[in-house]
Amino acid sequence: MNTVEPRSASILVRPTVDTPFHIDYEWWDRADRGLDVYIRSHLCPEHQQAYSDVSEDTLVDAVDLVTAEVKRVPAIQNIMTTHCARQPGYLTPQMSLINAVFRVFLASGNTPMSPTELGQKLGRPAPMILRTLSGPRVYKGIRPIRPD
């Protein structure tokens, strides 16, 4: 399991089951870890190959399924949310909690979610998710949203 010290997952106010968390991309920069490489490892096998030469900065036009509104988003994130995250086996009960949470954030385009919401998606107890995410170490950059 990758861990980076010494920054704490906690913010000044102690997180609760209703505190929104997200993947803090800056954490990956500080930790000098290859977020791009790591995210690619969560693509389905077909798209790991197809996107092996696509740069992380490449943008595509994502079309909203309901309104047909177009937004420019990173190509890898787009394929993750529109295809790979919908494949059977993307989330399994056997998966470690941290991996499962990370995948939920990838699938939702890193939309902030509280342990309660994550628990509903993963079928795991919210307090357990909270204890895991708000411990002294930050796992895979998953941190509470910092208040402005």
Binding site: L65, T67, A68, Q94, P127, M128, G135, Y139
Partner: protein
């Protein structure tokens, strides 16, 4: 122009969401009726309202058919469009560019300036999109312009959207399945609440429905009885003295001061601090064992058919606390609740029919209330019991397996004078059948609790904790081999852990050597090196 595909209305109801106009409609509905409504009642009214709105939208859209935005169409700069998916907002196309997305193929992107100044981009010449078949009145005979058929097919989704939206509003309150504007609640003052407390005090530990409390309060007769009950429910919910402990669909009030502390505050013995660990090394055999142990803190088993009866071995921490795990298999046996964090129900001794109160604590995944029953039936930790639903709603039957007294040599936990918790084999009286791999005897509960509370061993890092227990158990048999299940049971005497992190130690640490059939041995030389 509006196309007429039979799937249009199906898509409309599949994508149903509660917009601002719907919310306003719900407010008005509650104000008009002046009584709290269930989500289902509001859903029926809202579906009727939506159908009416749909008819109006289609009637209005017909003269402007050419200007309704369809992603499949081609538009020129300067064309004015209506966007039905954005509640009918209108805008003008001010630019066009080539779309870029290899997964979609060829399409265009148009830049639209809305009448309110907002600018956004939309797909054009895109053949496959749900908006290409917009809602219409004729649905090819699917019946989706019939309220009852819509409710039959989409009720769950529509109700969940309503709940989602209303939960985000501050001025509508929800209790016991009904909604009502906070501002219109009947006044319940502190005198009423003190009286309700006194009534519950007199009831001496029996939870009461709201109606039983209302009849003791002198509430204005002109207030609708349903609103009276709802207002009192809300006031009781907001007052820390009271707790709603009824199963789903039933409101029962209880006094918090009469609840067992183990229900209000999760017992420390059941507390689990999740440990991240790598599951990839777990063998199919260990995963299968993990599934069969069905620990409530482990990965949830996929819900299958609900069995009539569940037989389980109670692990040490639950046995000591007097609780049962709310595991995947056991959960369907016990009452659930929409919101109540604690549910009071009745346990029935399957041998003699004796009834006693039990508590489900869903968020913490345990059921409390079996302490005396375990002692009375001489159920050991690891003892086998059967759980099944009672004949009456809200009753659950518990029964020891093969209840008869026997004296057997079993693994027994014994604290030393220095407070060290260790294991030994002792002949112990046991009152039920038990799982050989899970059974743990106990001679001196008080001494064990003292040693446990001191915490020197339970706070060990997991590698040292598991190694310590493994070596203790290995001493107890001539082959010095330990079964993974016995290790899980033994570790849980010292600290509450699900099987996953314990089994991960077996497959990741070099000092555990697999000797077959879920048994491991300890390699002292590798331990020394590590």
């Amino acid at each position: 122009m509006i196309s007429s595909t039979p799937a249009s209305l199906e898509a409309y109801w599949t994508q149903f969401d509660v917009d601002d106009r719907d919310l306003e409609f719900i407010y008005n509905l509650l104000l008009e009726r002046e009584v709290p409504l269930t989500t289902a009642e509001m859903a029926v009214a809202l579906v009727e309202q939506r159908m009416h709105r749909l008819e109006e939208e289609v009637a209005q859209a017909e003269p402007l058919a050419a200007a309704v935005y369809l992603p499949a169409e081609t538009y020129e700069t300067g064309v004015r469009l209506i966007f039905p998916a954005l509640s009918g907002r209108t805008g003008v196309v001010i630019g066009i560019r080539q779309g870029q997305n290899p997964e979609i193929g060829l399409f265009q992107v148009m830049h639209v300036s809305f009448d309110d100044g907002d600018k956004r981009e939309f797909a054009m010449e895109l053949e496959e999109h749900v908006l290409n078949g917009p809602p219409e009145i004729s649905d090819g005979g699917l019946g989706l312009n019939d309220r009852d058929i819509v409710m039959e097919q989409f009720q769950t989704a529509i109700e969940s959207r309503i709940v989602e939206r209303l939960r985000g509003t501050e001025d509508i309150v929800w209790i016991a399945g009904r909604w009502f504007p906070k501002a219109l609640l009947a006044e319940i003052h502190v005198g009423h609440l003190n009286l309700a407390e006194a009534v519950l005090d007199v009831a001496a530990g029996v939870p009461l429905p709201t109606e039983a409390l209302v009849e003791h309060l002198d509430l204005p007769a002109e207030v609708d009885p349903l609103l009276r009950t709802f207002s009192l429910d809300f006031a009781l919910q907001e007052d820390g003295r009271f707790d709603e402990v009824g199963p789903a669909g039933k409101v029962l009030w209880f006094l918090k001061k009469l609840e067992p502390p183990e229900v209000l505050y999760p017992p420390p013995r059941l507390a689990y601090n999740p440990i991240p660990y790598d599951r990839s090394g777990l063998t199919e055999g260990l995963l299968e064992l993990e599934r069969s142990l069905d620990d409530e803190l482990g990965p949830l088993n996929q819900p299958g058919s609900v069995p009539d009866e569940v037989e389980l071995a109670v692990i040490f921490p639950h046995w000591r606390v007097g609780s049962l795990p709310l595991s995947s298999k056991l959960q369907p046996m016990f009452p659930t609740a929409y919101e109540a964090p604690r549910i009071r129900f009745i346990l029935v001794d399957g041998r003699n029919g004796e009834k006693f109160p039990g508590w489900v604590v869903p968020q913490e995944h345990y059921v409390f209330g079996l302490d005396e029953w375990y002692r009375g039936n001489e159920v050991p930790a690891g003892g086998l019991i059967r759980v099944r639903r009672g004949d009456q709603p809200g009753e659950v039957i518990v029964q020891p397996v093969d209840r008869r007294r026997r004296n057997d040599w079993i693994r027994t936990v014994s604290p030393s004078e220095s407070g060290q918790i260790s294991f030994t084999m002792l002949k112990q009286p046991v009152g039920t059948a038990y799982d050989d791999l899970m059974v743990v005897g106990l001679i001196d509960p008080v001494a064990l609790d003292e040693a446990w509370l001191r915490g020197s061993q339970r706070n060990l890092p997991i590698d040292r904790l598991v190694a310590y227990v493994f070596r203790e158990l290995a001493k107890l048999n001539p082959q010095s081999a330990v079964h993974a299940q016995a290790l899980y049971s033994g570790v849980n005497v010292l600290r509450r852990l699900p099987p996953g992190p314990i089994f991960a130690q077996l497959v990741t640490q070099p000092y555990y050597v697999h000797v077959g059939d879920m048994y491991w041995r300890f390699e002292d030389s590798a331990w020394g090196q590590s």
